[in-house]
Amino acid sequence: MSEILFIFDDNNYKGQSGEPMAAALLRSGLLTITNSTYHGRPRGVVGLGVEEPNALVQLVSGTQESMRPATVIELAEGLNARSLTGIGALPELPDAARYDKTNRYVDVLVIGAGIAGLKAAAEALKAGHEVLLTDDQPGPGGHLRHLGEALPSVLQDVLTHKNLTYVPRCTATGLYDQNYIVAVERRSDHLGDAAPANRARIRVWHIRAGKVVLAPGAFQRPLIFANNDRAGIMLSHAASTYVALYGVTFFKRAFVVTVDNQGYRDALRLHQAGVQVESIYDVRQDAQGASVDAAKAAGIPIHLHTTVLDTVANAEGALQSIILQDLNTDEIIEAAADLLAVSGGWTPIVDLATHIGIKPKWSAEHAAFLVNHNTDQLQTAGMLAGDFGGDDDPAIFFGPALDDEQAHNAYIDLQRDATLHELRRAVGAGLHSIEHIKRYTTIGTAHDQGKTSGMLTIGALCQLNATAQDGNSVLSPAEVGTLSFRPPYVPVPFAALAGRERGPLSDPIRITPIHQWHVEAGAVFEDVGQWKRPWYFPKPEESMEDAVRRECVAAREGVAVMDASTLGKIDIQGPDAGVFLDRIYTNMFSTLPVGQCRYGLMCKADGIAFDDGVTTRLGKNHYLMTTTTGGAAGVLAWLEEWLQTEWPELKVYCTSVTEHVSTIALVGPKSRQLLQELVKDIDLSKEEFPFMHSRMATIDGTTVRIARISFSGELAFEINVDWSHALATWERLWALGRPYDLAAYGTETMHVLRAEKGYVIMGQDTDGTQTPHDLNMSWIVSKKKEFIGKRSLQLPYLQQAGRPQLVGLLPELGNEVLPEGAYITALDVKPDGQGKTSHTGFVTSSYYSPTLGRSFALALIANGLNRMGELVAVPIGKKLLQATICDAVFIDKENLRRD
């Protein structure tokens, strides 16, 4: 340890490196650290660790992490922090620190390096196991550290055993099924400015353990009395540790109020450190044990069957005097004091055990909820299992009887400023369940998640619920029940959970082999799943609207090219491939001649259409299926599910080839002429190469597959080329296309072109409730064969009138593009009693069409196919637009252009 300087609230303080910040602040006499969030009351340090409800600070140095308890911040050179009034602030700048993750598989994980944990580790080592030992403190020993005592040497040896990994500053934050544990290790904050730049600040451990030993120890609990929140009122174990171990000399006159012998031990420590301990006030009628004898021997006055009722503050709001009550005579005594050390019993840390659904059991002997568990997978040890050591004989007592006025200032949850008064109000309102009361009063919902307030609430409810239910008798905590804790046990920064998966690494980015060309051409991209797809290709000074119009005109009047490589592609082979596809698609594929393509639609078993695409028969036993860009993985999983779990007799093999084959769509009346310049070995004329046919060809010595497929209604060719040759093919086309004014187009133009033809996009023009019939695609539903979903299409509710159906929509004003998602109502509909109008459908796709010279839309409208020509209303804000229902095919209904 060495002396260092640190800054708190812009003032310089001295401290020892490595000691808790709270200790240094107390030693310098800073009793009031903050004002409470809601009541603005002066508050000081209460505890020793993560249970601290008051002394939360925001780091100014480093990562500016918010809401760190000053009781767990280790002093280091360069530390700068400021006080917080309950609510933290997010830093303005991104967290530049490094965060890591690690995965461990161990025989035995011991959580807690106190004596119980170390003993459990020793046993596991003796049995030959590999042991991981985690502890949230900077060093081993648990409460021995607070007492300043060294570890017994036999336990020292455990720490250096070759089969043991000991990780300090590592807090287990969650225990999950099958012994999966998440732990958060803080690795650099305690080093301050001296921390190596490359060290991860926090490492999140993902641990799977054969056996978990829970030895987390316990928190000391406070008591409920009036004005129990003043600076100068501390947990006795914390007060005696700050004084005896960290040399806090601020306190001159102390009182100890206790329900157990821990108060005596702490009184003795304070006394031995030079604090004037005026008296121990013990709620018990009788107190016995070595610690009681020692306190007596030291001359500390002891008052039995007495407790603290109220306190009085000085001008600064800190403790000035305490009001004590003799429980025999009800006599009231007031005494001056600057420290009130409270020992309300121990609360073992049951949090992790409750994460996996274990219910703690009340032990009257311990005045505590315990978890006694001992299986091959999970064992509890130490205080959690009831091993309190010492000579404790605690009373079950949570505070004296208080009147209404006192209850207003008797705090249960210091962070939430929630008092006994609010608890009484909750019970008065008829709430009994502690889980309901927690939500009603907010007790236990703050940063500390009820570490000190949970047990006090249960204690208070023992009286309140009894009164509410049957008069006088007091309930046992066992009858009130415990709170269930949820992970994380302590707050964890999101940055730590994200680790290195931030920014560009937060999700994989998929790009096509032509991507770099798009970038250089100035494309604006959109995300389609993980894919980056060109959205449109603006020329300098061109708006999106201008670019899309130009691209559309090129495709309809000249020639345009699109990178369609993201199209999902599944290679399907095997002697039963045709039979299989007949079952998967609503239409027939086993009869498709080799070398031809067919559009197919697939439904789930419930008759709802979910994906579509063109499938080509490449050989007798060989098909290539295409899917929507976003649906590729889901369709492959769907095919596999049927093959593996229903039809294992079918000899069919499915392989994703999305990233093996790149697809370039060449579209427009001049596409044939342009492509024929590049392709010399086959005749592209409509007679030799009809629509929906597929041909192998050669481009610059590379074998490609060309298909006459059109997603625009125009004459079009899809060039399927090996992923690694795609860029070269694209560049050749581009160079040859110059005399044709070849335009590159993106997804926006693709959408306009396909919508003009009424081609549906699954997921955009559907909402997961449309049958093929609803999409006006009855023509694709085979009556001759079975397919998945066919039986459902006969169900009455999928046939009933009034279902939303896909139709076209022409806005009254041709320059008005309706917003996608806009609600559609009947024209004459009147608002109901709530001022609402019932809708009759919604807009699914909406664009401006340069070809039509006006706006148009697709929409799902109730019974829409039977409402052609009907005028409907589209309310947009205060405006009421009108539109006419029409056929979804806006251009070339006769399909003349595609040849």
Partner: protein, 100 residues
Amino acid sequence: MLYIPCPHCGLRNETEFHYGAEAGVAYPDPNALTDSDWAKYLHIRANPKGWLAERWVHFAGCGRWFNLWRNTVTHEIGPAYLPFTEQPKSPANGQEGLKA
């Protein structure tokens, strides 16, 4: 997080799997069922409090479907078995439902 024994890959974290509800519900002859029975096949699966044989797929691993006994209350994992093989006995051992 569950630790699931894939029959092909061994113990893996739950995040590598997708859930497929009750195991052993064969695809029926659709035309042999009434509307109501067909709707039951589509939408109704057993969801007991206690041990249940379930379908799982190791989508982020071998991609294979298999079946697995799992306790829906305690999250205990029982034996895994391949589709179209004999179902191992329920780990409940006659104590079905009592665990809750």
